[in-house]
Point group: C2
Chain length 214, copies 2
DNA sequence: TGCACCCTAAGTATTCCTACTCATAACAAT
DNA sequence: ATTGTTATGAGTAGGAATACTTAGGGTGCA
C-alpha cells in the first residue's frame, strides 16, 4: 500500500483528489492539509511515498517545501499540482527535482496514471504542456539556452521584484539607497536580457512573473 | 429531493463538489459538465433547482450562462463558485441576480449551508468577502456611489481594454483612427474616475481588471 | 596579473505618459 | 431651448522610462 499525502489550500479540490486516489487499489491517502508548513512537517515525520503539492499555498509555497525536502534528504517524491501552465514555473519545478507536473484541469485518469508512473521512478507531465516540452528538448539539444529570468543577476532580480510591486525607479532608488540612474541602468539591462522593448513591456512582464522571482 | 447541477472546468474540483453534496441527505447531483454551453443546455432542459456555476469556463462563462437563464425565465437558482474575491466580480454577479457567491477556498460546510440558504430563498455570500459587503452596505446607505469601472463610458472602456493588451497610446490611436491626444485625454479621464495616480498605475490596473471589461 | 563580470553612476536623446486647461460638435434629456 | 454628457482635438508642462554610451571600483577566476 503506497502512502500518499495531499497539500492544497482548496478544501473542495482536496476532497476530490482524496476521492480519486482512495478509489484506486494500492493507494492510500495518509494525510492532507492546506498549507506548506503543515505539509512539510507531516512529510518529514511520516515520510509518505508521494506528496501531491499545490504550488500556491499559504505560509510556505510548494517550491519551498520541495527545497526543504531536498535539503533534508527525505525519500518522498513530489508531484506538483497547479493551475500554472507557464513555462517558467514548469522549468523551475523541474530544476528543483519534482517528479511530476500536473495541471489542475487534469482529468481523474491522469492523476492515477501520474502516480503510477512516479512510483515506477518515471516522470510525468500534463499533456497540456507537452508543446513546451518539445521546444525545451530542442533547446537542450541545440544550444542549452538559459530561459529569461535565469539570466538576471541578483540585483536585477531584486529590482524586478520591486518593479512588480509597482514601484517607480525613483522609489526603488530610495529603497536600495542607490542612484536613480543606476536603477535605470538595471532596468535597461533587464530589458535587454529579456528582449523587452517599449514603455509598456517591463512592468507587465514583472507583474506576470513575480511569482517566479526568488 | 432537490436537484443540483454542477458546472466547473476542473474535473477534480467537480468530483470534490459532487462528493460533498451527494453526502448530504435531500440533495441530489443530477448532472455535471465542464463548460458553459453544455451547462446552459442542461439547465434549460432539465431545470434543476440549483446550478453551481464556475465563472471562468470554456465556451461560455458563468456570467453569460446566468444572463441566458434570466432571458429564458428558467426557475433554476444560480450559485457562483469562483476563485475571484474581487469586489467588481462580486458586484457583477449580484447585478445579474445570482443567489449566492461562494469562493472556491470555502470549506465543505459552507457549501451545504449555502445551498440550504438558497433553497429557502435566502442569499449566501462567502465569509471572506463580508468585509466588502460591509462597505457596500455603507455605500448604499450613504451616497450610492458607483464602483470604479461602472463609471467609465463605453469609449473609455474600449481604451482601457486596449491598454490591458499592452498597447501604447500611439497604437491605440492608430487602431481607433483617432488622435493620440484624444487617447491621452481618455486615459486621463479614466485615471481621474478611478483615482489612479502616477506612471505605474493605469497599466497594472488594466491588467488586473481586464477580465471585468465587457 | 589580466580578464570577465557586476554594481555603481552619469551623459544625452527620445519617447511615453501624466496633469492640467480649453474648445467644438454631436446627442440626449428635461 | 437649455443643460449635460460624451467624443473629439490641441496647448503646455513636467515626470518617467527607454535606448544608447562611457567609466570607475570591486570580486573572482585562470
Amino acid at each position: 500500500m503506497k502512502k500518499i499525502f495531499i497539500a492544497d489550500d482548496h478544501p473542495i479540490f482536496r476532497k476530490g483528489l482524496i476521492e480519486i486516489i482512495s478509489a484506486e487499489p494500492g493507494f492510500e491517502v495518509v494525510g492532507e492539509c492546506g498549507d506548506g508548513i503543515t505539509a512539510l512537517k507531516y512529510i518529514a515525520e511520516k515520510k509518505p511515498d508521494i506528496a501531491l503539492l499545490d504550488i500556491q499555498m499559504p505560509k510556505m509555497n510548494g517550491f519551498d517545501v520541495l527545497k526543504k525536502i531536498n535539503e533534508l534528504n527525505l525519500p518522498t517524491k513530489v508531484v506538483f499540482l497547479t493551475m500554472h501552465s507557464e513555462e517558467d514555473i514548469f522549468e523551475k519545478a523541474m530544476e528543483l527535482g519534482a517528479k511530476a507536473y500536473l495541471l489542475k484541469e487534469s482529468v481523474t485518469d491522469d492523476i492515477v496514471q501520474c502516480i503510477n508512473n512516479v512510483l515506477q521512478g518515471k516522470f510525468y507531465v500534463s499533456g497540456s504542456i507537452s508543446n513546451y516540452l518539445f521546444t525545451l528538448n530542442n533547446k537542450l539539444k541545440t544550444g542549452n539556452e538559459k530561459s529569461g529570468l535565469q539570466k538576471l543577476t541578483s540585483t536585477e532580480t531584486k529590482i524586478l521584484k520591486l518593479i512588480a510591486e509597482k514601484k517607480s525607479s525613483r522609489e526603488i532608488a530610495d529603497i536600495l539607497y542607490i542612484s536613480v540612474r543606476t536603477v535605470e541602468n538595471h532596468r535597461n539591462n533587464i530589458c535587454t536580457k529579456l528582449d523587452l522593448h517599449g514603455a509598456n513591456a517591463l512592468l507587465p512582464f514583472a507583474l506576470e512573473n513575480k511569482h517566479l522571482l526568488v
